[in-house]
């Protein structure tokens, strides 16, 4: 194992994060805080509790997921897209680094950053709404698992993308809508029956539901199914990455 290489990539990526701290950490925390102000403190006080949980608290897991998904994808995709775009990827390709090592470095750094962000949002939420976490270890577990899975997904997007627009299109056009429709702001149980069925095709529903269960001990879908769905997506991403590396897709001619 070339641990020096893993460390070098990880450090390099983390340094980039801290150099751009305003846009990489501060701005997502700020925008999520605005949701808490609007939906938690202002509107939330006029809304009834959902399944016994105050509306302000109810949206915390969904909002964290929203940031987590977007940030994981954009960190990881940008991390690998940037060297491709600037041409510095030549160095990675010519180094005695296995694909697994490169993956651990890039995805590890992206996931670290999103977990940091998730925790920061959780702390910030405390300023606006009181909440209690029922299963803190599961909560951390889901946080970590989602961060890693979607960093992996972002890594794939970063390799696939050959311009900045492609880099943005999936987070913007797919992930954000799926998150909003996946119960970030409501319980799937509040939808008409037909839409409840349709919602089950939305993978983000399982992420949010499982994460919400770790907070409040109740969920739209069984937590076991949530976990299985997340792990399934992780396996799918790993499979794609394995194929990318085996074929050199968009990396090597």
């Amino acid at each position: 194992m070339n641990t020096h290489a893993i460390r070098a990539i990880y450090r390099f990526e983390m340094a980039r994060t801290f150099r751009t701290i305003t846009q990489s950490i501060a701005s997502p925390v700020l925008s999520t805080s605005l949701y808490f102000v609007v939906f938690g403190a202002a509107i939330g006080s006029r809304m009834g509790a959902i399944d016994g949980v105050s509306y302000g608290a109810f949206i915390i897991p969904g909002l964290i997921m929203l940031s987590l998904l977007n940030e994981s994808i954009s960190n990881a995709s940008f991390g690998i897209y940037l060297p491709k775009w600037s041409g510095t990827i030549y160095e990675l390709l010519s180094a005695p680094v296995s694909y697994l090592e490169a993956l651990i470095g890039y995805v590890g750094a992206a996931a670290t950053k999103s977990v940091m962000l998730g925790v920061l949002i959780l702390i910030t939420a405390r300023l606006f709404v009181p909440y209690h976490i029922e299963h803190p270890l599961w909560m951390l577990g889901f946080l970590l698992l989602t961060a890693v899975t979607f960093s992996l997904f972002g890594f794939i997007i970063g390799i696939w993308a050959d311009d900045f627009q492609k880099l943005q299109v999936i987070p913007l056009m797919v992930v954000t809508p799926l998150t909003f429709l996946g119960g970030a702001f409501y319980s799937i149980g509040m939808l008409p029956p037909v839409w409840q069925k349709i919602a089950l095709f939305n993978p983000v529903v399982y992420l949010i539901s499982g994460f919400r269960w770790s907070f409040f001990g109740q969920s739209d879908v069984n937590v076991g199914i949530s976990l299985a769905a997340t792990l399934g997506f992780l396996a799918l991403c790993l499979g794609i990455v394995w194929w990318i590396f085996r074929t050199g897709y968009k990396l090597k001619s």
Binding site: N2, H4, A5, R7, A8, I9, R11, F12, A15, R16, R19, P83, S86, G87, T88, Y90, E91, L92, L93, S94, A95, P96, V97, S98, G248, K252, S253
Partner: protein
């Protein structure tokens, strides 16, 4: 500079890079390399010469692991570059043709990154030495984007040396570089060679190959057409012949043309003029005028050159500007 960490290599002159039957067909069907076989000797400076698009970068990229080969094998210091890529790549440093740099990083950060990437533990003292040798030490905390083009090229060299490679590839190191920096670069390459690093550089400047190389390989349209010691090659390269088929055979060369490099052949029916292909003044116009004065008429004329010369003349034409550059 401490580059080669191993004791003096046994058997200087044995191949350190062994390319066998290498071929590359890019997606889309373009065949960029055709059955290339080449041995690079330990400790030499090898210049790969060829016009743009000949396949120089492709060859280097395959050896360094950036492009997948379609056929053939490469051994770097005895290690197969595909099966045993870790050991092979650890020995190799690459300075790419294009100035690919991390604009927002500092020189120091990017150098540390390179060393780590190649699996070496941190060694600030060594990196400092590399930077000092390249006159970059004062710039170590500067962001790369604030550096000039020549400085960026040096940063790329420093990165390539960060892991103490034994084999260094320089892909067109002096393309678009001013004359002064070019001479610095040549000096640096010689210093590295003196430290035991094997150097393979590509260029399309004949002068550069002439100045630097121990041996020269010429590549054209994906084929390695010649590999020679520089001295041998330069002799062949320097001469070119103009052959005139005469209307009427000459018994002998007229006395006042005797000073010219002329020879009669084919029972006096063929006049051969040998000249220096690289000099500005070929003397052909003068020759033809003087033949006219003697009433020596010819049916046709052609320049008979070895295929090698052919290539180089083509090269010189395609890159006339570079060839004429003063001081180069």
């Amino acid at each position: 500079m401490r580059i080669a960490t191993e004791p003096a290599p046994s058997g200087v002159g044995e191949p350190i890079v062994q390319v066998s039957g290498l071929g590359k067909t890019y997606a889309g069907g373009f065949q960029a390399l055709k059955n290339v076989s080449l041995s690079i000797r330990r400790g030499e400076i090898f210049a790969l010469l060829g016009p743009n698009g000949a396949g120089k970068t492709t060859l280097i990229s395959i050896i360094c692991g950036i492009v997948n080969p379609s056929e053939g094998t490469v051994l770097a210091d005895g290690h197969d570059i595909v099966r045993d890529y870790r050991a092979a790549r650890a020995k190799i440093g690459l300075v790419p043709q294009e100035l690919h740099t991390d604009a927002f990083e500092s020189v120091w950060a990017t150098l540390r990154f390179s060393r780590g990437l190649f699996g070496k533990p941190p060694d600030p003292a060594y990196l400092e030495k590399v930077l000092r040798e390249l006159s970059l030490w004062e710039k170590k905390d500067n962001k790369i984007m604030s550096l000039s083009g020549g400085m960026k090229r040096r940063v790329l060299i420093a990165k390539a040396l960060a892991h103490e490679p034994k084999i260094l590839f320089l892909d067109e190191p002096t393309a678009g570089v001013d004359v002064e920096l070019r001479h610095d670069m040549w000096q640096m390459v010689r210093r590295l060679r003196d430290d035991g690093v094997t150097i393979i550089l590509t260029t399309h400047y004949i002068e550069e190959a002439e100045e630097m190389a121990d041996r020269i390989g010429v590549i054209r349209r994906g084929e390695l057409i010649v590999v020679e010691d520089k001295a041998v090659l330069m002799r062949k390269l320097g001469k070119k012949q103009l052959t005139l088929n005469l209307q009427n055979p000459l018994p002998r060369i007229p006395d006042d043309l005797a000073a010219l490099p002329l020879e009669l052949a084919g029972d006096g029916g063929i006049l051969v003029y040998t000249f220096d292909a690289q000099s500005e003044e070929t003397g052909i116009a003068d020759l033809l005028r003087r033949l006219g004065e003697h009433g020596i008429a010819f049916k046709d004329l052609h320049s008979s050159e070895s295929s090698l010369e052919d290539i180089f003349v083509g090269l010189l034409r395609s890159d006339a500007n570079a060839a004429r550059e003063p001081g180069a």
